[in-house]
């Protein structure tokens, strides 16, 4: 870490994290001394940009249940599958060398269920058989009976026979890949900043139950003057996992993918190559601050796709007054 951060915040007042409560399904944390925009970025990345594995293709051989094929496929997609340490175990299909999908980029699950009794039969996630040797992608089962999510119900003589291909993905593409069911987010539980106003019949205080984070902050004093300079400073989050990943891993992956995102944009700005060799970036002003403007053309007045090079623009003009609507040919 360079000095800029300390200069900016002072070494004693960097961000702080406190874990209030945690188990294998959820974690409550307080993130303080940081800005709303960063806390929100952290929340959004946990919701939408952490890769997990989920069923993405379903080949249905037989489905005589009352649930239509597409409905059934959708339900299968939403079943949480074990995604712990997925980055070490699976690659994205689009990055894989195979033509369609293979063991490096997918996990195959099969379902074979037929009801033979007069009692209706329930098909559960535990009935999904994972391909032998799979390192991840097992259906998540947390109930004491060990059944997992209900997939369908079958009456006597009905049958479901199918093969599923589970792939790695992120929730930005489809919500089934989200590692969380929700990330609760709150600040200023006593509404000292007056960012909200409570609807009430007679007395807002009596009618609104206090937030579960209310005792983490001092309640407003009687007759306290409103501080119009105050900004939110502490953010309370409750990360609720769907079970595919432990909350602890979700939060760590969140930071990791936020950093990854920054690196990607830096690479895009630097023209892909600069980053690795000089091990970071020079601050503006230091040694003239002349980046190799690879991505943007290089040199003075960086060329842009929007023109700049001899004043050409996609809107014409500069091409010797020849516009796409031309002076030659038609005119």
């Amino acid at each position: 870490m360079d000095d800029t951060f300390d200069e900016m915040y002072g070494s004693d007042r960097g961000p702080q994290i406190t874990i209030k409560e945690a188990d294998n399904t959820h974690a409550q944390i307080a993130l303080s001394n940081c800005d709303l925009s960063f806390a929100n970025a952290f929340r959004r990345i946990m919701l939408a940009e952490i890769p997990t594995i989920a069923i993405d293709l379903v080949f249905i051989e037989a489905n005589t249940s009352v649930i239509p094929d597409e409905f059934l496929s959708h339900r299968l997609g939403l079943i949480p599958l074990d995604s712990a340490n997925i980055d070490d175990k699976l690659v994205y299909t689009r990055d894989c060398v195979c033509d369609q999908y293979c063991e490096r980029c997918s996990v195959t699950l099969t379902l074979n269920a037929r009801c033979t009794s007069d009692v209706p039969m329930t098909v559960y996630a535990r009935d999904l058989a994972v391909q032998a040797g799979a390192q991840c992608g097992q259906p998540v089962i947390t109930d004491p009976e060990g059944l997992g999510t209900i997939i369908a119900k079958l009456r006597k003589g009905q049958e479901i026979k199918l093969t599923c291909v589970a792939k790695k993905g992120i929730a930005k593409e489809h919500a089934k890949w989200s590692p969380v069911s929700a990330v609760a987010f709150e600040y200023d539980p006593h509404n000292k900043l007056r960012h909200t106003s409570y609807w009430y019949e007679e007395d807002a205080k009596a009618e609104w139950p206090p937030s579960k984070f209310a005792d983490w902050e001092d309640p407003p004093q009687e007759g306290e003057v409103f501080d119009y300079d105050a900004v939110p400073n502490t953010f309370y989050m409750d990360v609720e996992s769907v079970g595919s990943m432990a909350p602890d891993e979700i939060m760590q992956q969140g930071i990791k993918y936020l950093q990854q995102k920054l690196m990607d944009v830096m690479k895009g700005l630097n023209g892909e190559d600069q980053m690795e060799d000089d091990g970071g970036l020079r601050s503006p002003g230091a040694d003239g601050g002349d980046y190799q403007m690879g991505g943007m053309g290089g040199g003075q007045g960086y060329e842009t796709p929007f023109g700049g090079q001899d004043g050409r623009t996609p809107y014409g003009g500069g091409y010797g007054a020849t516009t796409p609507y031309g002076t030659n040919g038609w005119a």
């Binding site: 870490m1 360079d2 874990i19 950093q259 503006p284 002003g285």
Partner: protein, 125 residues
Amino acid sequence: MSFGDEFLDNLLPPQEEEGKLRVRVLPGEEPGSASFQIDDEDHTLGNALRYMIMKNPHVEFCGYSIPHPSESVMNIRIQIYPEYEEETRPVDALMKGLDDLRDLCDVVEEKFVAARDSFNEEQGV
């Protein structure tokens, strides 16, 4: 089986054209001010980056927008105080913003690991 995949391919957005830059300078660039367009970014990066760039004392203004919800691009505008125009170009401020945000992530990760370890210890895990 290939039927399924062709069908899916048709649903996917067209591949990015070869050589198209992910970060672009928008028209109207001047020595102390520029707007950039970044592909495939949204409020997740936009607001945090905007905040970080505004923390730079050379920066007079920074704002971001998502021009249209169905186009996955983010625009970010940076203006430098005239007296710092010589030493800091808008690109430099953008780079510094990204770099500072990365430092912030490093600190948060460090703090998170420490908090988790002490929590686990308290719980006797």
